[in-house]
């Protein structure tokens, strides 16, 4: 995965809408523009786009920080963005690539592609899927959590859902579900200290590389090496 370019001119874009599909394209270096019904204001390097209901398309430069607030409607962030944050009540959220991600929705699925730093995702009743990230902080009340290729510490929390985490390196994991299976896969050669105390309190033994603290109320906890 290519690293994000060092940002020389950070751009911050704040977008709010009430309903309707919202598509943000983070490509190239052209100035911020939009397609749809909205008002745009520029203040101290921050571009604010206030939309109402109806579809809204916004183009931002690659690496721009994007903050999105919406009530309902699908949200797509394509291209390669900087820090991305999305808060919505209902609607599927998808982020293709970003420096960091913070997504929260009540009743929609969350799909995240590649995240250089932390990926934080919350859904009340939707599935959370992350393809690749630095660290991960993931939660869903009743949906499955799946994160593969994670390069940093992981926190995953479900009430009733399955948790599946694939570590790309030695990193601490805290995973908890009241009812559902927990599957953690670690690279070959990584020495895991396993505990069911969540969060873990005992120090990691010197002869191990990471701590996996996992607890399921009524499901199986499985740690595998690949």
């Amino acid at each position: 995965m290519p690293e994000l370019q060092e940002r020389t001119t950070p751009v911050t874009v704040r977008i709010s809408s009430t309903s309707g599909r919202l598509v943000v394209k983070a490509n190239g270096s052209a100035p911020v523009s939009f397609d749809g019904r909205a008002e745009i204001t520029h203040t101290d390097g921050v571009v604010t786009i206030d939309g109402g209901s109806g579809s809204l398309g916004v183009s931002v430069p690659e690496g721009a920080d994007v903050f999105i607030g919406s009530i309902s409607g699908r949200v797509d962030v394509t291209g390669r963005a900087g820090d991305v944050a999305v808060v919505t009540t209902s609607g599927r959220v998808r982020v293709e690539a970003a420096r960091s991600v913070d997504v929260r929705t009540k009743s929609g699925r969350v799909e995240v592609g590649e995240v250089e730093l932390e990926c934080c995702a919350r859904s009340t009743s939707g599935r959370v899927v992350v393809e690749r990230c630095g660290s991960a902080d993931l939660a869903s009340r009743s949906g499955q959590i799946r994160a593969g290729n994670v390069h940093g510490p992981v926190g995953a929390h479900c009430v009733s859902g399955r948790i599946s985490i694939g570590l790309a390196t030695a990193a601490d994991v805290t995973a908890e579900t009241l009812s559902g299976r927990i599957e953690i896969s670690v690279p070959a050669g990584v020495r895991v200290h396993r505990t069911s105390t969540v969060p873990p309190i005992e120090p990691r033994p010197a002869d191990t590389d990471c701590v996996v603290a996992a607890r399921s109320g009524s499901g199986r906890v499985e740690i595998t090496t690949r």
Binding site: C133, G155, H157
Partner: protein, 192 residues
Amino acid sequence: MTAAATTTTVVDTVVGAVLFTDLVGFTDFNEVRGDAEALVVLERQRAIVDRMLSVAPGSRVVKELGDGLMIWFASAGAGVSVACDLMRAIDTARGVDDFPLAVRMGLHHGDALVRGDDLVGSTVNVAARVCDLAGPGELLVSDDAIAAGAEQVSETTLECFRPIGPARVKGVGHPVWLHRLTEPDRRSRVLK
């Protein structure tokens, strides 16, 4: 023809911060582990909260809402500081004392109307919505609370908050900006 009658009720208005807490998965926990264990969890949560509030003059638990609490602080600074401490205290209790559930919290600042022991108004409603948006083990704080409490809170504490964007909250015309309490070491890990 009857003249329209108007009634004006004088009520007290107070300014401060409202914190909502919620035990994540409490209903399921109650179902699986039974009423007795659920009650113990509630009492343990309340004991932790009371201990935290004892150092914040003017703060109080306004009411219990099932497994959640509505808490009042006389200032935004106290709200932010105590909410952070409360989150850490519950985190510690989860590890050391095997407290079984994660808590989520939402804090907002503004004025509220006094109704007996209760408080009502938009500030209360927004605080509840902010809590709804928090994940397990997460504290979300509105921009209003951060701004109002900035001078009363240590710089170290403020640096732990990260903006997470504008939330559209039902009943509020403008987006409410939210901040999330983060663990600083989490973000330092990058892809290799």
